[in-house]
């Protein structure tokens, strides 16, 4: 197991409260966990359990009321807004349920965008974007616009955009929600492969079948981590002949 310090994402006693007084809502209560390189962690829970809040905080899009969120050892709060924005362009990749591609840009332009925003020269950015598209298996669709792609293809572009420039933290919010089950599975296979290649992934989902691709599953209820599964040896389980 990796030492705690090597975690790509670390949340320590993170609490997020929305509103004040009578309308106060605790979206997260003292949540702690880490995600290491090579690891995919799934977060499961019913709607309103705090899954999306957790991901928003991990991505530096929102700040905790108390506790700390660190990405690659850096406390996001200490970075300030500009530093966090830079972190999002260089270290954190986001994958959404509805893909969030820019319709006026073609596939390669969508993928190159975060690099170009970060000041990378167009030619270099395009080359990296091309490599990322190849990696997710749609290098031949580089000049296609999102409207002319299937949902699965658009999500592949989104994953390429999330990993371009060797970003090591991938945050996926119900990435298979808008896809049929076969396409969804191929997206999970990609996320899994990316984590196996050294990235750290957080997958928010309410589908057990999809969460099962993760190394660990964290269960959230009312903003609290109520349980977590590790990974038992599959062979032992099958050999015993009794799955339960």
């Amino acid at each position: 197991m990796n030492a705690p310090t090597s975690a790509v994402l670390r949340m320590d006693a993170v609490t997020r409260v929305h509103g004040e007084g009578a309308t106060e809502v605790h979206a997260l209560r003292s949540v702690s966990f880490g995600v290491h390189p090579g690891e995919l962690v799934a977060v499961m829970g019913p709607s309103g359990s705090g899954k999306s809040t957790l991901l928003t905080l991990a991505g530096g899009l929102d700040s905790p009321t108390s506790g700390t969120v660190s990405v690659e050892g850096t406390d996001l709060e200490g970075l300030g807004a500009a530093g966090r924005a830079r972190m999002r362009r260089t270290s954190i990749g986001y994958v959404f349920q509805d893909f969030n591609l820019i319709p006026a840009l073609n596939a390669i332009e969508n993928v190159a965008l975060p690099l170009e925003l970060d000041g990378v020269r167009t030619r270099t950015a395009r080359a990296a974007a091309r490599a990322a598209l190849d990696e997710v298996g749609i290098g031949d669709l580089a000049t296609r616009f999102p409207d002319h792609m299937s949902g699965g293809q658009q999500q592949r572009v989104a994953i390429a955009r999330a990993v371009v420039g060797d970003r090591r933290l991938i945050l996926a919010d119900e990435p298979t929600g808008a896809l049929d089950s076969d396409t969804g599975e191929s997206i999970l296979r990609l996320l899994r492969a990316r984590c196996d290649a050294g990235a750290a992934g957080v997958l928010v989902t309410h589908e057990a079948r999809h969460a099962a691709w993760a190394d660990r599953v964290v269960f959230l209820r009312d903003g609290v981590v109520v349980d977590e599964t590790g990974a038992d040896s599959a062979e032992v389980l099958i050999d015993s002949g009794t799955p339960r």
Binding site: P46, A208, A212, V226, A234, L237, I238, D239, R244
Partner: protein, 192 residues
């Protein structure tokens, strides 16, 4: 489980002896339901008694080989063309446990549900890992794995459903509501 029909179906491919049948059964089902060789031989004896297989002598190494009969072929065909019976629901320990947990006083049903959800999720993770490893391998084994995946997934969905219904019941249960109203009224009384 229908060891009888499964062995007959394997014998349709040609004469086999006990160890071969066991090996082929386990290969196709990924050793998910291990068979012991004693079970195989008792089943073969019963099949022979019923006229569905006949002993075809021993091979060079002395293994007793069995061959399927015409009646045996008919039995296999009937098995494949008849749906698996569902007249009696199979005994489901988890459903029984939860049914009792919600009625026996003093049981933390939420904890029972979560504990099971975690355990089933771990199993589902294991099946998914095996599926990834088995990619490009034998179709028969991968279909058995899919069956395990779907069953585990259904169980988790059912547990989620139980949890949601319990929560709703707790909110809607009139006596709880009455208790709350009474406490609130008492609080207000005290403040005045």
């Amino acid at each position: 489980m229908s060891v009888k029909q499964a062995l007959l179906a394997l014998l349709e491919e040609g004469p086999r002896y006990g160890y071969q049948l066991r090996a082929q059964f386990e290969q196709r089902t990924g050793s998910t339901w291990p068979l012991n060789v004693g079970q195989v031989y008792t089943t073969l004896t019963r099949l022979e008694r019923d006229g569905l297989v006949v002993g075809a002598g021993a091979d060079d190494e002395g293994h007793v080989v069995y061959r399927i009969t015409d009646d045996g072929r008919d039995a296999v065909a009937a098995w494949f063309t008849t749906p698996v019976e569902r007249t009696q629901p199979p005994r489901d320990e988890l459903a029984i446990k939860l049914a009792l947990a919600v009625t026996v006083p003093g049981v933390d049903v939420g904890a029972v549900i979560q504990q099971q959800r975690s355990a089933t999720m771990s199993a589902l993770q294991d099946y998914t890992r095996l599926k990834r490893q088995a990619e490009g391998g034998e179709l028969s084994w991968s279909l058995v794995l899919d069956s395990l995946v779907f069953a585990a997934e259904a169980e988790i969905r059912w547990l989620d459903h139980c949890e949601a219904r319990l929560r709703r019941a707790q909110i809607e249960r009139p006596e709880t509501l009455l208790d709350e109203i009474l406490t609130e009224e008492a609080d207000e009384e005290a403040r005045r």
